[in-house]
Amino acid sequence: MEMDRISFLPKAILHDILGRLPDKDAARTSVLSKSWSETWFSFPILSACSENFFSLARTLPIEHPLWLSKLDIFIGYVGKRLRRLCDQGLAVKELKLNLQYRLDRMHVSHHVDQWIQMAAENGVEVLELHLAASGCMDKWYNLPLCVAEAKTLTKLVLIGGIRLDPAFLKHSLKFFSMRTLSLSCILFGGEGIMEHFISHCPLIEHLTLEHLTLNFELYTFRTVWVKSLSLHGLQKLKGVDVKGIQEVYIDAPNLEDLSYRALATDGSFKLNLDSCTNLRCLSLCHLMSPDKWLLELLYKTPFLESLMLHNCCSSERINISGPQLKFFTLSHFYDNLKEVNIDAPNLLSCDYMGIDKPVISFQRISDQLEVNAHMHINHRHISRLREFFQNIKPQKVLASLSLFIFEPLSITESLGILRISSSPPSIKCVELCVLWDNEAPYFPFMNWLLSSCFPESISFSLRSYFKMKAFIVYFYEMLMGSKKGKCDCCSRSFKCWWHGLKVVKVTYLGRTYENVEDLKAMLDALPEFDAEEFITFGLEL
C-alpha cells in the first residue's frame, strides 16, 4: 500500500516545488490536506493576481454584490497569508500583486497599504505591484512611504496607476540591496523623484523606465512626460530599458544591455552613450533618422554582439558594421529602404522583417550565417519578392522565409514563371500565413512560390488555424497529386518541383507521419491546437 510521502517532504523542497508551479496551481495545493495547508501558509512567496483569482465579466458594474463578495474573498486571502507568515516570524520574501480593478472606489487601497507595510517590515526581497491605470490621475494609488525603509528589497517593480509622492524626496531611501528597479507608467508627484530613487540604489544592475509622467499640477490633467534621464556613477549597472524619454545620458562603463524606444509621436531623440564601450546588446525602436549617429556608435562599441533596429526611419541605405556582431534584426515598414550593407564577419543570424524588399549584401560572412526573412506581401509587392530572394548575396545564406499574405494574390503570367533565369535558391524553411478562403488563386500562388525557391519544409502556424485550414488541406492534396493544375515544367531545363517531389512528411508536435491519406480527417481528429505550435510539411525533391 503506497503511503503519502510527498506531503511530508522537507518544507524547503515543497517550497521549491510551489515556486515552480504557476500561481493558480500552487494556490490550489493549500486545500489538498492539512499539512499542505501548513506548507502553503509558510510559503514566503505571495503572488496574487485578481484576474486569476476571480474572473468576472467586465460588464458587471463595480457595485454588483457578486463582485464585492469576490473582492472581499481576495482581500481576505491575501491578508490571511501575510498575517500567517508574520505570526510565524517568517520573512515575506516576495509580494507580487496584480490588481486590475480600480482601487479608489472600493477602499481597497488601505488594505494594500497594510500589506505593503507588513511585507516591508518582514524582510521583503521582491515587491511587485501592478495596478490598472485610471484616466483620472488624482485617483491613482499613492505608494506608502514605508517602502523607503525596506532595507532587504532587491527588486522593486511598479506598473500602472501608481503615484510617487514628493514626500519621498525628504526620505533617505534605504535601497542598499536594490538590484532591479522597474517603473512603468508611473506618475511622479514632482520633479526629481525619479533621480532621487535611482541615486539611492548604488548596487543597481537592471533599470527599466517606461512611459513615466510628471504631473505636479493636479487639476490640469495634462500629460507631461518625463523628458530627460541622466545616469552616472552606477558602477554595477548592466542593463537599461528606457521607453518614451527623449534625452538620455548614460555614463556606465559596465553597461552591457541597452534597449531604447523614442517617444512615439516624433521619434526625436538624444542618446549619449559615449562611455558605454562594453555594450553587448543594443535594441533601438522608433528612432528618427539615426544613421549617422548609429554608425558612430557602432564604431565606439566594438564588442557589440546583438543589434536590433525596429522601425527606425532611415534613408534608403542602412550600413551596419561590427567585428563581434553575431545577431542582427531589422524591421522596417516605411517602404523606402533600398539597400542594406552588412560588414560583420562573425554574424550568425540576420533577421529581416518588413514590407520593403531591399538588396541585402554582406561584405564578409561566416559559414554559419543564416538569414531569415519575414515579409508581408500584397499584390503590389509580389513581383519584387523573387528579386529579393535572388538579391541576397551570397545565395546560400537565406535560411528561412515567413510570408504573411492577407489578400488573395492574382498571379498572372506576366509575373513570369517563364522569367526565371537561374536555379531557384534552396531554403530550409518557409512559413506561410495565408488568410484567404477563395480557392482559385491557391494553385497559381503555390506554383509560383515553389518555382521561386526550393524549401525543405513548409510550416503553418496554428495561430490562424481556422482561417488557414482550407488552404493547408488544399495544399497537401495538391502536393500528393490529387488536385492537378497546369505546370509549365516542360518549358524549362531545370528541376520542376511538381515532378521532382518525392516524399511529403507531416510533422506536428514532434511526431512525423508519412503517407497521410486524408489530411483533413487527421487534423480534425487531433486534440486542441496550441497556438504556439506549427504543422510542417517536410518536402524531399
Binding site: D4, R5, S7, P10, T29, V31, Y77
Partner: protein, 201 residues
C-alpha cells in the same frame, strides 16, 4: 599470483618506477605514490589515471565512481574535494541518508550525463524519461538524495515530474495521485474551502 605477491613485486619495482615516472613528469606527491594501491600505479603506468572516489551508502555498501563525474554534478562532493576534507587514500564519503539502491541510481545518472553530454537533446531527454520510470517511493528517495547532494539538474528533472502531477489537475485527482487518504480538515473546514475557492476544485 596472489595479490600480496603482486604488491611485493611492485613495491620492489618502486624505486625504478619512481625514477621513470619523474622522467615522464609525473611527480609523486609527498610520498603518496609509495603508499598508493597497486591499481593506481598500474594505471599511472598505463598513462590514464582515472581518479576514483568511494561513496558509502547508509547500508554500508561502498560504490567506486570517477571523481570527475561526481564533482561535475554534486555541489556537496565538489566542495568536499576542493577544500581538501576528502583524503583520497583512506577515506570514503559516508552518505548516511542515501540507501544503496538510490545511490546506485544517482551514480548512474551522473555518469551517463558526464559521458553523454554531447548527445543531442532528444536522446538525453528520452534517457531521462526512462531513468525516472520508477515508483513514487523511488522518486522521492531520488529527490531527497539529489537535494542532499545538491545535484541541480537531477533536482530540476524530478521537480518537473512532480510539477506535472499537480499542474492542471483537480483537487480530488491530486489527492489520488499523492495517496492522500485523510486530508485532515474538519468537515466544516472542507466545506468552507469549497465555498470560498470553488475554482480550485
Amino acid at each position: 599470483m596472489e595479490l600480496l605477491c603482486i604488491r611485493q613485486w611492485i613495491s620492489g619495482l618502486l624505486p625504478t618506477v619512481k625514477k621513470w615516472l619523474s622522467a615522464w613528469c609525473i611527480k609523486p606527491v609527498g610520498g603518496a605514490l609509495v603508499r598508493q594501491e597497486p591499481e593506481y600505479i598500474l594505471l599511472a603506468l598505463m598513462g590514464s589515471p582515472l581518479k576514483k572516489i568511494m561513496l558509502c551508502s547508509s547500508e554500508k555498501e561502498i560504490f567506486s565512481v570517477e571523481e570527475q563525474v561526481m564533482v561535475q554534478h554534486s555541489v556537496i562532493i565538489n566542495n568536499m574535494i576542493e577544500d581538501g576534507s576528502y583524503n583520497h587514500e583512506e577515506s570514503k564519503i559516508p552518505l548516511d541518508c542515501v540507501d544503496s539502491k538510490t545511490l546506485k541510481k544517482v551514480i548512474d545518472y551522473c555518469t551517463h550525463h558526464t559521458h553523454h553530454h554531447n548527445d543531442n537533446q532528444e536522446d538525453l531527454e528520452a534517457w531521462d524519461a526512462q531513468f525516472l520510470n520508477v515508483d513514487s517511493n523511488g522518486l522521492y528517495d531520488l529527490l531527497m538524495a539529489a537535494n542532499y547532494l545538491e545535484i541541480r539538474n537531477l533536482l530540476d528533472l524530478i521537480y518537473g515530474t512532480i510539477k506535472n502531477m499537480i499542474k492542471g489537475k483537480k483537487i480530488d485527482e491530486i489527492r489520488r495521485i499523492f495517496n492522500i487518504k485523510d486530508h485532515g480538515f474538519t468537515p466544516e473546514e472542507e466545506e468552507q474551502n469549497r465555498k470560498e475557492y470553488p475554482h480550485f476544485y
